[in-house]
Symmetry: C2
Subunit: 362 residues, 2 copies
Amino acid sequence: MSKLFVELGRRGYPIHIGPGLFGRDGPLSIATSGRDLMIVSNETVAPLYLAAVTHATAGARRTENIILPDGESYKTLDVLDRVFSALLQKRFGRDAVLLALGGGVVGDLVGFAAASFQRGIDFVQVPTTLLAQVDSSVGGKTAVNHALGKNMIGAFHQPISVVADTTTLDTLPDRELSAGMAEVVKYGLVCDAAFFLWLEDNAERLLARDREALTYAIQRSCEIKAQVVAADERETGNRALLNLGHTFGHAIENAMGYGVWLHGEAVAAGMAMAADLSRRLGWLTNEDVERTETLLKRLALPIRGPHQLGPETLRDLMMVDKKVAAGKNRLVLLRSIGDALLSENFDESNLFTTLTECRSTA
Amino acid sequence: MSKLFVELGRRGYPIHIGPGLFGRDGPLSIATSGRDLMIVSNETVAPLYLAAVTHATAGARRTENIILPDGESYKTLDVLDRVFSALLQKRFGRDAVLLALGGGVVGDLVGFAAASFQRGIDFVQVPTTLLAQVDSSVGGKTAVNHALGKNMIGAFHQPISVVADTTTLDTLPDRELSAGMAEVVKYGLVCDAAFFLWLEDNAERLLARDREALTYAIQRSCEIKAQVVAADERETGNRALLNLGHTFGHAIENAMGYGVWLHGEAVAAGMAMAADLSRRLGWLTNEDVERTETLLKRLALPIRGPHQLGPETLRDLMMVDKKVAAGKNRLVLLRSIGDALLSENFDESNLFTTLTECRSTA
């Protein structure tokens, strides 16, 4: 097991990464011992891991659970309200702890429930997808979606512990493994050219679920995330760079209906679009664009947006983004592989060309 | 005009108190100039003050408004969602500012909207009821109600400015003026015996809306609140004392249906109950209990709970409270007028007697 730490003073917390972390004396026990515990999971993950996690947290004062339907389309205020109702029906107080057992949807929603129940209670992240392990479970961004925009309602609320058991990836569908790899590639593109190179050297091993390779990819991703979050918890600066591909991606997810494209798939296409636009602005070389697209393709990820989605629609939806300031959209773009920047200095016509060119023909 | 300051470092902000603050170059202009502004009010307050506030904020980049139905029963997640929808439909971004124009319901709900829209945007409090001016608009407690408990969903999120125009009290119904006085009395009971004495000397002037007396009562209340909040923003310590009467009161509000009893009325009855229980525990003298009850009665406030509400029901509902820890309820009680404490050392049977004795016979 490896253990990282997100350095945020009183709000700092450990990230545990490794196999077999659901043991009786493991990190889950430490985080929940003696507490009123509410485990929140979904219909897909609960049958696989709820029993193990319940066993690992047997030291809690009492344990209840809620099983939500699975999927991005359930990351809503309505489903959030069900969590509040369960907490109140069971008379959980401010000293209770929530445990999110699942992927990014469960983690984001439970995190926001913890942020707002009685104005804030503790929660533990137990991510069971690659995407959640490398990205969404770390850093305290919590949210639910609104019909008019993704992640539009939420809070910054840090977990008290992240427990990423790598053996849970054994049960992850291939498509979700690839989707998680999109966020791994993101770290290389944004700030670590050497990691990007390592990914190029190990793409097939990763897809084949080579345990050593996967563990390294998760660990390096969490290291970068922890560092960026510690330096800029509330995204007033460089943390925004970790949104590479996300403004494009959120627009795709929203337009297609939440859950039709997986978040990681939309981000992959979005990163290819960001690379394309960066080249049009004279920043990124053809070769770097090609390396980006090739790696994403090798990881079984899309590099084009959906055919149904015209450039006008995509552009309009991109304006509903948290990085919009004073009516101007700011995008994360690339100067080179491993060097991202936040810019509003892109010509509208360049963006439009990118959106047109990066549309799938099929 | 008097100006106080809530000392919270980067999150600190001014409280402006006085008549005629809705002028063109006043504090509202300073807080909103050049910003995208969304004014949220209700059907009662908007016809009275929306035009003036819109005029006072004419320096905003653009201004939109939402008018909500009036009343505590609308402080819900559903109504909150309407605010999010309006913000997204109008393409408001993270740099927008919300303005809450109304009483405690509007302020609490808009504050929580600001806390969670895009994970947090700025907001301005423009309280138009006595209760909101002396209490709920200051200190950053934001929330909506849940069917199973009052203020159960919310956040700590400080406004960037509070603008309490005392002339708005001219249009306040008598019943609401009295309800606001309950929170004023609370400050005296909790931590300022001299202020309590002043209230005893000025109760009739206050009910007669003597401008000088009202302004002093608001100012002194805000001074106390600002001090307590600065010392304990997230209520890990003494801030909890400002909840005197509130555990009893929230149970009454919830049992009767939100809005049937005004919040201040329920708090008044709750403070009388807290005084009664404190006497039974041997802390408060008969004389102090009597002074408390007399002052509340002179201010046209109830000192007994509703007849319909039996002690068992009230006790059960009191367990749904944010001060419950490890299954034990903690109550704010009184050692003397001006000296409150948080205690879980009250006998259940004493509490039961209080709930029985402090039930209205009518």
